[in-house]
Structure formats: structure tokens, C-alpha cells
């Protein structure tokens, strides 16, 4: 425990506790469509709702895979009628599974 806060002295009625934990995470189905517009900008449409900033993460992964500036990538969330099936946003899975789909689409 090399963190400086671990060394702060404690006063009366104060205590310090340490704990560790793990969690299996989710995989599951994801579908995305990636297209390149005529002005060179990239559009990503995925079906996973954005609760933690996943649209930005999809854009970052696509920009790095394709070698284009981050600003030229637009990331949107579509509904299930427009795009393939996406499993729920939960289980810590969106950046993992939907991101994987984005990178595979970019590699195509």
C-alpha cells in the first residue's frame, strides 16, 4: 500500500478498512454499422444505450483503427428495428462487446 492517504494518522473514533473484490463481466450480442461518408467522416451506429460514455469510446476505438482524427467520427445510438440485435446495456459489457464489433467493422 504505497498510497500517501494510507499513511494519514487517524483520530479518535476513526478507523481504516481495506478490501478487495472481483466481478465476472458480461459478453453477449452486439451489432454495429460503420460507414464512410463522401467528405471522409465516419458514422457509427450501434444499438447499445449510452450510460457511461460509450459513444465516445466507440468513436475513439474507430478513429484509432481507421487512422482518422477523432473529430471526424460521429457515434449514434439506433433502435433495434434499424440495426441488428444488441443485448442489454449492463453487466459491464458495452465498451467490451460493442467496441469489439466496431473494431471488426472498421477492419472489414
Amino acid at each position: 500500500m504505497a498510497h500517501p492517504a494510507y499513511k494519514i494518522p487517524l483520530g479518535k473514533n476513526q478507523g481504516r478498512g481495506v478490501a478487495s473484490g472481483f466481478w465476472f463481466n458480461g459478453g453477449g450480442e452486439s451489432a454495429v454499422t460503420v460507414h464512410v461518408s463522401e467528405d471522409g467522416s465516419i458514422g457509427i451506429a450501434s444499438g447499445s444505450m449510452d450510460v457511461g460514455g460509450s459513444r465516445a469510446s466507440m468513436a475513439l476505438m474507430a478513429a484509432e483503427t481507421l487512422g482518422v482524427p477523432y473529430d471526424s467520427v460521429r457515434s449514434t445510438v439506433s433502435d433495434t428495428a434499424s440495426i441488428g440485435y444488441n443485448h442489454v446495456t449492463g453487466g459491464s459489457r458495452v465498451t467490451f462487446a460493442t467496441g469489439m464489433a466496431v473494431v471488426q467493422a472498421c477492419e472489414k
Binding site: 481504516r16 478498512g17 472481483f22 457511461g52 469510446s57 459491464s92 473494431v103
Partner: protein, 216 residues
């Protein structure tokens, strides 16, 4: 690749996409300057239509997440109220694509865990009706209850993902209850055995162990 091949006048297998532009890989075809994705896209109406790819997959190979945390608490011996003074959470996130969002996920999970540890429970009447149905009585932690939660990002990439991503949103809730309980044990000398460790519960435990308690 087919599109860049058409523009450069050669087979698709002789091109590769590097740094956002198509380069010729076969030196025998001569030396042409790389064609950027933007230039290829601009000509697509003529060379063959829109550039689109679609992928639908069932992702496997997700890796578990690990989190280690410590916290300092202060207990008010007269009311049993517990105040979190400092909180540090370190987590293995695989690869943080957007680091400040990942820190937000870690902080959010810790807050959920603190709520579970200290306050959140359903209170039922003896007729089985839920009594605390609103957020005033089902008390979740708010910003004024908490210190700044320091989030430390540790990156051990997941080999099964192109960017090494692991799920980050849930594992940080797991150790919180144990860390808070351990800190409470340090502060009061009394080990709690049930959640939540709300003021009435802590006070009752302090009173029951009044002769053994240290630091009060």
C-alpha cells in the same frame, strides 16, 4: 480495400490501410502517393458506391474485473452515524479507452457500495407493506455526504479484445461494504455482521459492547 484498389488502379490485395490512408504494398506496381480515406470516400460515387460495413457478433472472452479499495471513516458514538473521510479505489480496467469516463464509473460504483453499506434497505411494516417508498426515506448517498473518491486506473489489457478492454462498471461496488465494515471495526472495535450499517444498528452494537469498545 477494394475502393482504394480501384482508385489506384490495382488489385485490392496490393493495398493496405495504414494511418488513415491506403498504401501500395506491392513495390512492383510503382510508387504512388498514399490515398487518404477522405480522398477515397470522395470518389466513391464514381468508383462503386458507399463504403459500409456491418458486424453483428456474440462477444465472448470477456475478462473479470478486480478492485482493491481502502477508506477512512469516523463514527459519532452518540448517534451511530458513520462519515466517510477518505476513499481510494484502485481497479484493473484492462484498457481505459476514455480515462475520465472510467474514473466516473469507479466513483459511481463506490457511491453505490457506500449506499448499500450504510443506508439502503427496505423497511417493511408488520403487514408487509413497504414503508420507505420515496427517495427521501430510501436514502442514497448524495454529493454532500461523500469526500472526493480517488480512482486509480490499473491497466492489464484483456488479450481477447482488440483494445484490451475489460468491463469496469460493476466490480467497484463489490469491495466497498467490506472496506467500510473493516474501517468501522477499526474505529469502534466492534464487528458488524449485517447490512446496512445504519446509525441505529451501529449504535445498538456500540451499546451492547460498551465495556469492550475502544476509542469511544
Amino acid at each position: 480495400m477494394r475502393a482504394s484498389g480501384d482508385d489506384l488502379g490495382c488489385a485490392a490485395r496490393s493495398c493496405c490501410l495504414k494511418e488513415g490512408a491506403a498504401h501500395l504494398t506491392d513495390a512492383a506496381l510503382g510508387d504512388k502517393s498514399p490515398l487518404s480515406l477522405k480522398d477515397i470516400a470522395a470518389k466513391r460515387a464514381v468508383t462503386g458506391g458507399p463504403i459500409v460495413a456491418e458486424v453483428a457478433l456474440n462477444a465472448g472472452g470477456q475478462a473479470p474485473g478486480f478492485s482493491t479499495q481502502f477508506c477512512d471513516v469516523e463514527v459519532d458514538p452518540e448517534t451511530g452515524a458513520v462519515k466517510i473521510l477518505r476513499y481510494v479505489a484502485a481497479q484493473d480496467v484492462g484498457r481505459a479507452i476514455h480515462p475520465s469516463y472510467v474514473e466516473g464509473q469507479i466513483q459511481g460504483g463506490v457511491v453505490q457500495g457506500i449506499g448499500w453499506a450504510l443506508n439502503e434497505t427496505y423497511v417493511y411494516s408488520d403487514k408487509g407493506l413497504l414503508e420507505n417508498t420515496g427517495f427521501l426515506d430510501y436514502r442514497v448517498p448524495v454529493a454532500s455526504d461523500l469526500p472526493m473518491i480517488e480512482a486509480l486506473i490499473v491497466e492489464v489489457p484483456n488479450p481477447n479484445h482488440p483494445f484490451g478492454v475489460k468491463g469496469v462498471g460493476e466490480v467497484n461496488i463489490v469491495p466497498v461494504m467490506a472496506a467500510v465494515a473493516n474501517a468501522l471495526r477499526g474505529a469502534t472495535g466492534v464487528r458488524q455482521h449485517a447490512l446496512p450499517m445504519s446509525p441505529p444498528v451501529v449504535l445498538a452494537a456500540l451499546d451492547a459492547h460498551a465495556d469492550e469498545v475502544v476509542g469511544v
